[in-house]
């Protein structure tokens, strides 16, 4: 549990006084809305994931964490094509969606549930449906974090607001398919095995109850950087000063070294 005995004692501050009041309930920042979904396993992938999207105008920032996906394909990191599907029923396919009865819900068979591809969650370049099967810009490997800001097309935005946008991550481990299905070719790309393009994770985007999703882990421990041997390395002094309802009284100087404890943001897919 918590190592209380070892708490670091930091310098006292020249803080004269402070007053505060409770804030009012807050609407979202300047027309920003947030959508979120937990990704559930399809086709027995046993993978998990979560996605949240901050949308301001047509600028979308997508943050995604996945784990437990197929790790390798032909000796390289397994490419997981990932999309926001739109204009279907807005749900993830049930086992009954497997109309061919081969034991695998193919991307086509899932179509009536989650709809067509509205946006490709590519790691760079095109985010339209034209990039849907570009495996070079797919998510890579068993687990990854994806974060990207891009201009989202109007169709995807409309579908998301209507509760009909579904995040689908594709790519199964072929060994987990029934024997006959392992020999089938993809319904989308005839040169690829069925496993490569079939859905592995799925979740319907819903409006978040958070008007704005906090990034990273909360910095609720007061820390100071250890005295650096190189004196030019100053601690991060960016801090909360009157940003909310907190008002510092005149004469109060707030200069606290608070070192950031986490840097969880990455601009591209990273292991």
């Amino acid at each position: 549990m918590n190592k209380k005995s070892a708490l670091l004692i930091a310098p006292a501050l020249a803080l004269a006084a402070m007053t505060f009041s409770s804030g009012a309930a807050m609407a979202a920042d300047n027309g920003t809305s947030t959508f979120e979904t937990n990704l559930g396993a399809i086709n027995g992938s046993n993978a998990t994931g979560s996605v949240w999207i901050t949308l301001t105008g047509d600028q979308a920032t997508v943050t995604e964490n996945v784990s437990g996906l197929a790790a390798t394909f032909n000796g390289a990191a397994y490419p997981h094509a990932q999309h926001i599907h739109i204009d279907g029923a807005g749900v993830c396919p049930a086992p009954s969606a497997d109309t061919s009865g081969d034991g695998v819900i193919s991307t086509t068979e899932g179509g009536p549930s989650y709809g067509k591809i509205g946006t490709t969650l590519s790691t760079s370049g095109d985010t339209s449906d034209k990039a849907a099967l570009d495996l070079a810009v797919a998510g890579m490997g068993a687990s990854y974090k994806y974060e990207r800001t891009f201009t989202m097309n109007a169709e995807t935005i409309a579908s998301m607001k209507a509760g009909k946008a579904v995040v689908v991550v594709h790519g199964l481990d072929p060994a987990t398919l029934p024997a006959a299905a392992q020999k089938e070719m993809s319904d989308l790309a005839p040169t690829l095995p069925l496993a490569a393009t079939s859905p592995a994770l799925c979740g319907t985007l819903a409006v978040s109850q958070m008007a704005a999703m906090p990034g990273g882990a909360p910095g609720t421990g007061v820390t100071t950087a250890l005295a650096p041997t190189n004196a030019s390395t100053s601690p991060d002094v960016a801090w909360f000063v009157g940003g909310g309802a907190l008002v510092l009284a005149a004469g109060g100087a707030l200069a606290l070294g608070r070192k950031r404890t986490v840097a969880a943001h990455k601009s591209t897919v990273a292991k």
Binding site: N2, A6, L13, A217, P218, G221, F240, T261
Partner: protein, 155 residues
């Protein structure tokens, strides 16, 4: 579940805590602001989360320690046990009683955002502080999250 009203104070008798609540926003990096670090500083409500009593995860942040003494406002938060109760007073005069569901400890490096801040189908609350102080780096490497849900309210 209740209509929105900002929280003004938090009382957790089982750990001897009563604190006013600040209103906390987001910093330039999009991270939740935290209260000041001085001894005696209150906890705060993250103002972009639901207010306590509304549907969803209302988020209350407090420091585990302070700049001068070890005992921050949420110094004893980790002691809370499932079934214990605490209360939140709101600006509309209501007093809400919450029950503790569980406590979880997360590594900051893999903080599960939606597991803590994701949508819920009832009025819930998260009391969050830090833990896992690492003397070699001067950093806290964990967050302690107490999950609770609304039991009753009076006005």
């Amino acid at each position: 579940m209740l209509a929105a009203s900002a929280p003004v104070s938090l009382s957790v008798p089982d750990i001897g805590l009563t604190t006013p609540l600040l209103s906390l926003g987001r910093d330039a990096k999009g991270e939740a602001e935290v209260p000041p670090g001085e001894a005696g500083s209150p906890a705060g409500w993250y103002k972009y989360s639901p207010t306590p009593g509304e549907q969803g995860p209302s988020v209350i942040l407090g420091h585990v320690n302070t700049t001068t003494i070890p005992e921050g406002v949420f110094y004893r938060l980790h002691e809370l046990k499932p079934g214990e109760q605490f209360s939140v007073s709101r600006a509309d005069g209501s007093v809400l009683v919450f029950g503790v569901d569980r406590t979880e400890i997360f590594q900051k490096a893999s903080f599960p955002t939606l597991a803590v801040y994701g949508n819920t189908d009832r009025a819930e609350i998260r009391l969050i502080t830090c833990g896992g102080y690492e003397p070699s780096t001067g950093e806290f490497v964990e967050n302690t999250v107490v999950y609770g849900h609304l039991l009753s309210s009076t006005k």
